[in-house]
Amino acid sequence: MASLIEVSPALLLLENVLFMGAALIYLAATLGYIIYVRGQREWGSFSAMVLKIAFIIHTAFIAVRGYNVERLPFVGHYEFGNLFIWGTALVYIWTEWRLKEKFYAVGAFITPLMMFYFSYLTIIPSVIPAIVVSRVHRPLPPVLQSNWLSVHVATSVFGYAGFTLAFAAAMIWLIKHYVPALGALGRMFPTHEALDEYIYRSAGFGFLFHTAMIISGAIWADISWGRYWGWDPKEMWSLITWFVFAVYLHARFTRGWTGKRAIALIALGWVAMLFTWVGVAWLLPGIHAFG
């Protein structure tokens, strides 16, 4: 049964224009950050400004989408994907604002990841027919009509955002390590020590919110289904992601793992996170099939 909410053509147009506008300006910020790491130092703050503009437009898109679906736009691949990208941008912008050293080079890696996530919502479904990312405006089914939905989704967004940020910094670490003659790139990249610290803090941030996501999901499941843990593939992969980052955080803190082994764990954790978000939905069906 198709379940639809009628949306006026003007609002539908506005929603689509804001989505495309945000995507294009995020792309512009990506290009700006890439120019920055190629040695054009003045492009750092300019790209940061472009990213903030994209973020504001994306916020407007989410607000319009919420108005159109008459609820918080937190459900399904399209809405969650947008929220995830928005959260990733927010967390990165926050780090730029918070830190004395701006780490614009991380922007050159986080924004392509955001574009990759955008491609999952736009290009990938047209290339792989098995993946369907519906933009249909649906009302909330009764099982999802709970205040826990917003807590569960919001914490998962920030958890995933933290892990994405850690992975972006980890990629810089890898390039710095394996490509000795980087030239201008090398000058724009932070030091290994600074990157290591950045990765650790981002992973810790993501881990806190990922944990909150698992806990809020368990409480909600307990209220809704009568059990807090159902061994559903989505639950299990969230836990696997949690395990991997728990191992990294322990190894980093107590064993001083800061090199390739730590980076490998971050990469593994990011892959597990991606699989939890996308892979489980299409390959391992379970009770989390709301999208």
Binding site: A2, S3, L4, P139, P142, L208, S224
Partner: protein
């Protein structure tokens, strides 16, 4: 999981075999190994059918053994951490030489006017950035010590303790609790042996959503009795369970049972029964002729190609779709709309079949979990522990007069993180300069 604090402890005498064993089971390496093992096994398990994975992996003795070892690891490392943590938090090294400060991850030398209260200026600058300040030593070796974020030292301790509470809460819940699935229709009852009570459904109401393509909400009025005593009386619906004495009744799902009246055309004898999807309506005594109920459409329609479908969840046009069978032979598809009798020929004579309506039934999950308070208490503690670990960063700063009395040497070190050391040190430096200029 132990940390480097333990590794730095002086070893006065050789450890006994028991101590060595306990150290191994509480070690971080062992903890990491178990977590990775659990991750790999869990990933493999998700590739299996969920029921199979629950029965043969998640409930297996070896999976539970890994969880037990993780609990043991958490318990031992939590105990092992207590003393070093307290020592680290409450007995800091407050003295530092000029050389020590110069070796700190963040340090700086601030030119000052030559006067006797340079260190007082440093102490005030420390206070202005929110540090807890004390002046240590005397004479030329006097230094200013400042710190903040002491709670951060206990983050991993609280985190490990909370995980232990969660695991033990889960274990306690499994040992003392139960979970059953049962249900029925209006005015029916079922007994929950494990809880020693009976659940009676006095009313079941289906309320359509504003948009009828949405699955409707079902409200069930239940009365729970233990013997003659009513121990609970309330309404159960999705996301709104009924709780009493540690037991909980959750709405799991609802079912619609089509009700048929079968009449022997020759004798006029008739009877009424409710069926569910997958059931067979036997039309003769030998059970050779029957209708296999495939689907109950509450608001029936048909695609142009003849495929039936439900328009939405309304119950305006109930129709049962089925297959008429004679022995193993398929005779054809049948559609049985409400109140429209159809006659089928059987070896016993003609039988009239009519869908007269439907009954609404609710399926509940009934459970008791005494571990719930521990689970949720442990969860809150876990979030607190992680917050303390990652958002409260212990930092310690030191200030000493420089070698030539014309400068102040300031340095800082962080526990786990150095990210904010430089910016804090810069704020201290600016504050010192501002105060120096004001003199």
């Amino acid at each position: 999981m132990t940390d480097t604090i333990n590794a730095k402890l002086p070893e006065n005498k050789p450890e006994s075999p028991l101590q060595q064993t306990l150290r191994f089971f509480g070690s971080m390496q062992f903890g990491i190994f178990l977590l990775l093992l659990l991750a790999v096994i869990s990933a493999y398990a998700t590739l299996q059918e969920m029921e199979q994975a629950i029965d043969y992996i998640y409930s297996s003795w070896w999976y539970l053994s890994i969880l037990s070892f993780i609990s043991l690891n958490l318990l031992l490392c939590t105990v092992q951490r207590i003393r070093p943590m307290f020592r680290l938090a409450f007995q800091p090294s407050k003295s530092s030489s000029i050389a020590d400060i110069r070796n700190m991850p963040a340090h700086s030398e601030v030119p000052t006017k030559m006067h006797s209260d340079q260190l007082d200026t440093a102490a005030q600058a420390f206070k202005s950035v929110g540090l807890r300040v004390s002046v240590e030593g005397a004479g030329a070796g006097r230094i200013v010590f400042g710190e903040r974020g002491r709670l951060g030292y206990f983050g991993s301790f609280v985190t490990h303790l909370s995980l232990l509470v969660i695991l033990l809460g889960a274990l306690y819940g499994v040992v003392t609790g139960y979970e059953v699935t049962n249900g029925g229709w209006i005015d029916s009852s079922f007994v929950v042996q494990e809880g020693g009570f009976e659940v009676h459904m006095t009313d079941i109401r289906m309320v359509q959503e504003e948009n009828p393509v949405m699955r409707p909400r079902v409200y069930t009025d239940v009365t729970v009795r233990r013997g003659e005593e009513v121990i609970a009386q309330d309404t159960v619906s999705i996301n709104y369970p009924v709780r009493f004495g540690g037991n909980t009744i959750y709405h799991s799902t609802f079912l619609l049972f089509p009700v048929f009246r079968l009449t022997d055309v020759k004798t006029g004898e008739s009877g009424t029964s409710r069926f569910m999807e997958g059931d067979r309506i036997y039309l003769d005594a030998q059970r050779t002729t029957y209708i296999n109920i495939v689907k109950f459409y509450t608001n029936f329609s048909m695609h142009p190609d003849g495929t039936p479908y439900n328009i939405d969840y309304r119950t305006d046009r109930p129709v049962v779709g089925g297959v008429l069978m004679r022995g193993r032979e398929t005779v054809g598809n049948v559609l049985l709309p409400r109140n429209k009798a159809q006659v089928f020929a059987t070896p016993d004579g003609d039988v009239e079949v009519m869908l007269t309506g439907y009954d609404l039934a609710t399926v509940f999950s009934v459970s008791k979990n005494l571990g719930r308070p521990f689970l949720f208490g442990g969860s809150l503690l876990l979030l607190l522990g992680l917050y303390m670990s990652f958002f409260i960063t212990p930092e310690r700063y030191y200030a000493s007069k420089g070698e030539n009395d014309h400068s102040l040497l300031i340095g800082g070190r962080g526990y786990r993180s150095r990210l904010f050391l430089a910016s804090t040190l810069q704020r201290i430096e600016s504050e010192i300069k501002r105060r120096e200029e004001a003199k």
